[in-house]
C-alpha cells in the first residue's frame, strides 16, 4: 500500500492558482522527487501534505485513510524538513533536537536515546554540545534534517534541504536520505537541482505553474525527449552566415542549433552518429576547434515540455 496518495490537490492564493489538480503517490522506502522552477507550486504542495494548508480541492490519503483536513492525525506521522533552517541559534545541536523531540511527545531516556541516535546519524555527535550559531551552514542543515527524524516518521517531506550547502555536507545528506529510504521511510524531496533529482529519486514529478506536467522514472522522463545526446561543435573563424549555411545544408538531418561560433547537433546516440557527422562536414571538418558531447537531462526534458529553462529565474 502507498504511504501517501495525493488526489487532485488544489490551492489558490486569492485569484492565483498555486496548485491545480496534482495527483501522485509514494510508497514505503521510495524517494519521490518534485522538480520544478521557483513558483511552480512545490512548496505549496508540501504545505498541503504537511497539513499546514487546507486544500481547496482534492484529498490526501495516508496509508489508504483519508486524512484531509485532520492535521492532528496526519502530523504525528510526518517529518517535515523546511526550506529554512528553523532552529534556535542560542541552543546547542543537542538541545535543539531535544526541544523538537519534546514537541513530538518524547521524554526522559527515550528522548535522550533518540537524540543520540539522530546525532550519530547526521554525523554531528562530536559537535552536539556546541551552540548552533557556531555551526557551518551544512551542519545546520543536518541538524535541521535530524529534528524531523526524532519521532521516526513514516513519511519525510524535504523542501529543498541542500540549498546553500557545501559539497561535503551535501554528500552527507544524500547518504542520509539513501539510508532512510533503505529503512523504509517514504521521502518526498523537492528541488530545482535536476542533478539531485536524478541522483536521489526513484521517481520524479515535474511541476510547472501548479500542475504536474510529467511523472516517472528518470529513464521514462528522458524517453519524452526526441533526442538523447547533444554534440556541441566549435568551428574556428566561422561567421554566422557560414554556420547557417552548414545548418541548412549537409547538417540539416541533425536538427542543428546555431550558437556563437558553434553548432549544437541533436542526436539519439552520439557514438553512433559521429561518423555521419564527420562525413557531413566534409572538408570543413578541418576547421573544427572543439567538440563536446552532453547527455540529455531533466533540464532538456523541462525545456522540451515547457519551452523554458528550469533555471531561467
Amino acid at each position: 500500500m502507498q504511504i501517501i496518495t495525493a488526489e487532485n490537490l488544489a490551492y489558490s492564493y486569492g485569484q492565483q492558482r498555486a496548485v491545480d489538480g496534482v495527483s501522485f503517490s509514494v510508497g514505503p522506502g521510495e524517494v519521490y522527487g518534485l522538480l520544478g522552477p521557483n513558483g511552480a507550486g512545490k512548496t505549496t504542495l508540501i504545505g498541503m501534505l504537511a497539513s499546514l494548508l487546507d486544500p481547496a480541492g482534492g484529498r490526501i490519503l495516508f496509508n489508504g485513510e483519508d486524512l484531509t483536513g485532520r492535521p492532528q492525525l496526519l502530523r504525528p506521522q510526518l517529518g517535515v524538513v523546511p526550506q529554512e533552517v528553523s532552529l534556535h541559534d542560542e541552543l546547542t545541536g543537542r538541545e535543539n533536537l531535544a526541544f523538537f523531540g519534546g514537541l513530538y511527545g518524547l521524554a526522559g531516556n527515550t528522548l535522550r536515546q533518540r537524540v543520540g541516535e539522530v546525532l550519530e546519524r547526521v554525523g554531528l555527535l562530536k559537535d552536539a554540545d556546541r551552540r548552533l550559531g557556531g555551526y557551518s551552514g551544512g551542519m545546520k542543515r543536518r541538524i535541521n534534517i535530524g529534528a524531523s527524524l526524532l519521532h521516526q516518521p513514516r513519511l519525510l517531506l524535504m523542501d529543498e534541504p541542500t540549498v546553500g550547502v557545501d559539497p561535503q555536507s551535501r554528500n552527507y545528506i544524500y547518504e542520509l536520505i539513501a539510508g532512510l529510504a533503505e529503512q523504509g521511510t517514504a521521502i518526498i524531496y523537492t528541488t530545482h537541482y535536476m542533478e539531485e533529482a536524478a541522483r536521489l529519486c526513484r521517481r520524479i514529478g515535474i511541476m510547472d505553474h501548479g500542475r504536474m506536467i510529467a511523472e516517472g522514472t528518470l529513464a521514462e522522463l528522458l524517453e519524452l525527449l526526441p533526442v538523447r545526446d547533444l554534440i556541441r561543435i566549435g568551428i574556428s573563424g566561422a561567421e554566422r552566415a557560414e554556420l547557417e549555411a552548414l545548418a541548412a545544408g549537409s547538417l540539416a538531418d541533425f536538427a542543428p542549433l546555431i550558437g556563437d561560433g558553434e553548432l549544437t547537433l541533436q542526436v539519439d546516440n552520439a557514438g553512433r552518429s559521429l561518423a555521419a557527422i564527420s562525413a557531413a562536414f566534409g572538408p570543413e571538418a578541418a576547421r573544427i576547434s572543439d567538440l563536446a558531447v552532453e547527455r540529455a537531462s531533466l533540464e532538456n526534458v523541462f525545456l522540451h515540455l515547457t519551452g523554458r529553462s528550469l533555471r531561467e529565474d
Binding site: G47, A50, S51, L52, L53, P71, Q72, R75, P76, L78, V80, P82, Q83, E84, V85, S86, L87, H88, E90, L91, E95, F99, F100, G102, L103, Y104, G105, A107, R131, A147
Partner: protein, 458 residues
C-alpha cells in the same frame, strides 16, 4: 502540558544565553532606578500645576481660625475641604483630627491643616518672645512638593490674617516703649484695622475691603489726620497687619520610612522596564515566525494555544524575575521595605507581570516585524510611563493629566505598588489595582491569542 513546559524551558534557555537581553532586563533597570533615585531624592519644587488639596480641622473655633480658614479658601492653587464627604442623605460633618489622620493614612487627601484649641487666644496675647501660636500641618511626607507649597501658603495667610492682632499688640508695646499717648496708639490701632492693609476684613471672603496688597503710606497719613474717626480696636477683629505663626509639620506616614522618592522610583522604574522587557520578548515571537520556527513547531502537532501558553509562561517568568531583582535591589540600595509587605508584593507583582506579559504578546500579534515592535513599544511605553507616574509623581501633574493616568498600565501599577510600599496596605487595600491588572492580563491575552491564531498557520 509537557509541550507547554518544553516550549517554556527552551525559551528561558534561549533568553539566558543572550547576554544583551539579560543585561537590559536586569541590570539596566537597576542602574536607571539608582540614578533616578539619587537625582530626584532631594527634589523639591513648586512646579505644581494642579490645586493642592488639604483638609481643614478647626479645634479652636475662634475668629482667628475662621479668618485663617477663609484666607486659605481664597487662595488659588489650594482646594480646601472643611467637611467630610456626606454619607448618603446625611449631613456632612466637619473634619476632626482623627478623621483627617485616617484620610491621610488611607491615601486620600494628603494634608490637613489643624488649628489647635487656644490658637485665637494665643494669637491675641502674643508676647513676641518667640512663643508663636502654632498651626499643625498633618502630612503625607511622600507629597514633598505639595507639603512645601502648603507650608508656604500657610505662612502667607498667617501673615495676612494674624496681622491685626499682632499689629495691635505691637502698637501697645511700641507705645509703652516710646511713651506715646494711649489715645494716639488707640487711633493708630483703629486705622490699621479699618484699612486692612495686609489682611482680609472680618467676615471673610465676601466682606468688602481693600485688596490685601493695596494701601500705602499716604493712607496712613490721612487716617492720622482724621483723628477722632478712628475705631476702637478689637484685638480679635479682622483686618490685617503683618504677623506670623509656627507651623508644625507632622509626618503622618513617614516616621519609620526612608525617603519616599526611593520607593516611588523602585515602583516606577520596575513597571517601565518590565514593559520594555516583555515587548522585547514579544519581538522574539516575531523572529520565530519570520524564520519559520513557529511553522515547524506547528507541524509537530503542537496546538497553537500550547505554543502561546508556553511562550506566555516563559515571558511571565522573566518579567517576574525582573520584578524581584528590582525589589531586592531597592531593598539593598535604598532600604525600601520589601520584607513586611512580602505576600502582597508577591501577589501584586505577579499580577503586574501577567498583565505586562499580555501587553507584550498583543504588541507581537499586531506588529509585523521586530523593528515595528521596537519602535511602537518604545513610543507606547514611554508615553504610558510619563502619564502613569513612572517617571514623576502624578500628584504634581495637571489635573487632566492625572485623570489620563488612570487609563494607563503604569498608573494602576503605581497605584498598587505605592499602596503597598507607602500606605502599608494589604491586598484588600489595593483590590482595585489588583482587579485592573487581572482584567488586563486576561483581556489582552485573549486579544493576542485571537490575533495570533490566524498567524500561526503556514
Amino acid at each position: 502540558m509537557r509541550r507547554i513546559l518544553t516550549i517554556c524551558l527552551a525559551s528561558l534557555r534561549i533568553w539566558i544565553r543572550q547576554p544583551v537581553a539579560v543585561v537590559v532586563s536586569l541590570l539596566v533597570p537597576v542602574v536607571v532606578m539608582t540614578v533616578f533615585g539619587f537625582v530626584f531624592g532631594g527634589m523639591s519644587g513648586d512646579a505644581d500645576a494642579s490645586p493642592v488639596r488639604a483638609m481643614f480641622v478647626d479645634e479652636d473655633g475662634s475668629e482667628a481660625s475662621m479668618r485663617l480658614r477663609d484666607a486659605l479658601q481664597e487662595l488659588d492653587g489650594l482646594k480646601l475641604s472643611t467637611t467630610q464627604p456626606a454619607p448618603g442623605d446625611g449631613e456632612a460633618l466637619p473634619w476632626t483630627r482623627e478623621t483627617a489622620l485616617a484620610e491621610i493614612r488611607d491615601g486620600g487627601t494628603g494634608m490637613a491643616v489643624v488649628v489647635p484649641a487656644g490658637f485665637g487666644e494665643h494669637l491675641d496675647n502674643i508676647d513676641f518672645t518667640g512663643n508663636a501660636p502654632q498651626i499643625e500641618l498633618l502630612a503625607d511626607s511622600s507629597l514633598q512638593i505639595e507639603n512645601a507649597i502648603m507650608q508656604g501658603m500657610l505662612q502667607q495667610v498667617s501673615f495676612m490674617t494674624a496681622g491685626s492682632s499682632l499689629a495691635s499688640q505691637g502698637m501697645v508695646i511700641m507705645g509703652d516703649e516710646l511713651g506715646m499717648d494711649p489715645a494716639v496708639v488707640s487711633m493708630m490701632q483703629g486705622w490699621m484695622q479699618d484699612n486692612a492693609v495686609w489682611g482680609p476684613q472680618p467676615g471673610g471672603a465676601d466682606a468688602e475691603g481693600s485688596d490685601p496688597v493695596s494701601g500705602s503710606a499716604g493712607d496712613m497719613d490721612d487716617q492720622a489726620d482724621a483723628g477722632d474717626d478712628a475705631a476702637e480696636t478689637d484685638n480679635t477683629s479682622g483686618g490685617g497687619m503683618t504677623g506670623f505663626v509656627d507651623i508644625r509639620v507632622v509626618d503622618v506616614l513617614g516616621e519609620e520610612k526612608d525617603n519616599p522618592v526611593f520607593s516611588h522610583q523602585v515602583a516606577g522604574v520596575l513597571t517601565m522596564f518590565m514593559l520594555f522587557t516583555v515587548a522585547a520578548s514579544g519581538g522574539s515571537l516575531l523572529r520565530e515566525r519570520q524564520n519559520g520556527t513557529i511553522r515547524r513547531i506547528m507541524i509537530s502537532a503542537t496546538r497553537p494555544v500550547d505554543y502561546l501558553l508556553g511562550k506566555y509562561l516563559a515571558f511571565f517568568l522573566i518579567a517576574y524575575l525582573q520584578t524581584w531583582v528590582m525589589l531586592i535591589a531597592g531593598w539593598l540600595i535604598f532600604r525600601v521595605d520589601i520584607i513586611s509587605p512580602l505576600p502582597s508584593l508577591a501577589v501584586f507583582g505577579a499580577l503586574v507581570a501577567l498583565a505586562a506579559t499580555s501587553f507584550g504578546m498583543v504588541l507581537a500579534s499586531v506588529c509585523r516585524s521586530v523593528e515595528q515592535v521596537s519602535s511602537i513599544s518604545t513610543l507606547v511605553i514611554l508615553v504610558m510611563s510619563s502619564i502613569g507616574g513612572s517617571m514623576m509623581p502624578r500628584s504634581i501633574m495637571p489635573a487632566a493629566m492625572q485623570r489620563l493616568g488612570d487609563f494607563t498600565f503604569n498608573g494602576w501599577a503605581m497605584e498598587g505598588f505605592t499602596g503597598i510600599f507607602w500606605y502599608g496596605k494589604d491586598l484588600s487595600g489595593i483590590a482595585l489595582p489588583c482587579l485592573v491588572m487581572t482584567g488586563l492580563a486576561l483581556v489582552l491575552f485573549g486579544i493576542a491569542a485571537r490575533l495570533f491564531s490566524s498567524k500561526l498557520a503556514y
